[in-house]
Amino acid sequence: MNRRSGTGYTGVPSWVYVIAAAGSLFILLPLVAMVAKVNWPQFIPLITSESSLTALGLSLRTSAASTALCVVLGVPLALVLARQPFPGQRLLRAFVLLPLVLPPVVGGIALLYTFGRQGLLGKSLEVAGIQIAFSTTAVVLAQTFVALPFLVVSLEGALRTAGSKYDAVAATLGARPTTVLRRVTLPLVLPGLASGAVLSFARSLGEFGATLTFAGSLQGVTRTLPLEIYLQRETDADAAVALSLLLVAVAVAVVGLSYGRRRSSAPVKEQL
């Protein structure tokens, strides 16, 4: 009963809250259990160690880059999938989802087969003097590969739900398709795009298997925080867990901030 006056209808059945609470607990409890296990005196030196900080910095930079790449590649893909039906659309959609299913390690192998020195494109790239594997670029590529489907799928859902009524109106007012896209379509699906971008960023931040295989684990170059955590775990599982908390904290900050900004400028207010 904390509705404010003047707001529209927001009836959510009360049992929904009960299940939602259960769902939240299912996710929160393991996190709490993790926090409970942290060896706090050991925690600060661990997360401020040079290797941790280098890894964190690398993780943030590469995740930001791959999120940008996901948006650039994913928005067009989502548009093509959501708007006009064309032959093979269903197949394309299924293929775009594949990196989700592929165990990341296998994804990494596939990337090696493509961009590695012996790979499909890698040979030509090598001739051109470009080496991708085992570089920071490789990290970004690996993260983009696994994170792209997230952006595409959530944006496609939002685009379908939003429909194209407003796009049509904009076109009749003389707006070119590009203008329509920039000034109407995208602003209207901003919540979906934001969700997609956040998902991609989070997935990139947590990416491990494909990076390890495709980019290797070289400190400062390709060893992102999840890889650092993986290595820590070889020697001390609890330290790894503690280090994960750093990742979690960063993610909460980034996600909280980005969602926050989005909500306060939330454009679509419901009329009754």
């Binding site: 090696l112 020195r117 012996q118 594997a133 390890l212 295989t213 290797g216 020697t235 599982a237």
Partner: protein
């Protein structure tokens, strides 16, 4: 990649020669602690050198090297993976075995199932976790099972030692079969129970310079450092045996 077959330089190099430059060492994840120390010792002793380390599972590293990863030295956790590279003529000369490892039973400190011997693992009601036969520690386990005629009924066949250890430290399992070095690394969280049958399956760690290395001299120097007395000491401290 080309596979130039230079004869192996086995002379224990003194650290006074004028070597410099950078190398990348691909090493099995289980060597993380020791190789990190070995590399920094090596850099300290040889100013102007830089050793970059890349850790992952041995088989993953083999895939990377096969696909043209820019590595100079490969240290494997088993001979099988090294063999893949030598079969593919990707190593320079022959590999050197620099450490061994044997299995040990790891139990939670309280030892809830009162395990004292390898045979105890087969008792009913004991939740034992082993490595899957596909990975080195699993094939070692299989060898020991065969040799002793004891058949284990594990609740899980993990794909790495770390996972076995994880199950034991979390007390999910009553016992696990891991390497001595792993028990040592885990410290207080597990108790190691050595068993005599472990010598039926000794695991050997080989190291080799890779054919594609751009700084073979430095690579040889690093391998020499690993196999030197100082290197052995570091490895010994971690629980590795001498081949």
């Amino acid at each position: 990649a080309g596979s130039s077959n230079t004869p192996a330089a086995t002379s224990p190099a003194s650290s006074s020669s004028s070597i410099s430059g950078e190398i990348t060492v691909f090493a099995a994840a289980s060597l993380k602690a020791t190789f990190t120390k070995l590399a920094s010792d090596f850099e300290a002793k040889n100013p102007g050198t830089k050793v970059t380390l890349n850790f992952a599972g041995s088989s993953g590293l083999v895939t990377q090297i096969t696909q043209g990863a820019p590595a100079d030295v490969f240290a494997s956790a088993d001979t099988k993976n090294m063999a893949k590279l030598s079969d593919a003529k990707l190593i320079d000369g022959t590999a050197t075995n620099f450490a061994t490892n044997v299995l040990e039973i790891a139990v939670p400190p309280s030892n809830p199932a009162s395990i004292a011997s390898f045979a105890d693992l087969a008792k009913s009601g004991v939740k034992v976790v082993v490595c899957a036969p596909q990975v080195p520690c699993g094939s070692a386990t299989e060898t020991i099972e065969k040799a002793t005629g004891t058949t284990l009924a594990p609740v899980s066949e993990e794909s790495s030692v770390t996972d076995v250890l994880g199950k034991v430290t979390s007390q999910e399992a009553d016992a696990g079969l891991v390497y001595v070095t792993d028990v040592k690394t885990a410290g207080e969280k597990v108790k190691g129970i050595p068993f005599p049958e472990s010598d039926k399956a000794v695991n050997t760690y080989p190291i080799a310079t890779l054919g594609a290395s751009k700084n073979k001299e430095l690579a040889q120097a690093f391998i020499a450092a690993v196999t030197s007395a100082d290197g052995k000491k570091v490895l010994d401290d971690a629980g590795f045996g001498t081949p």
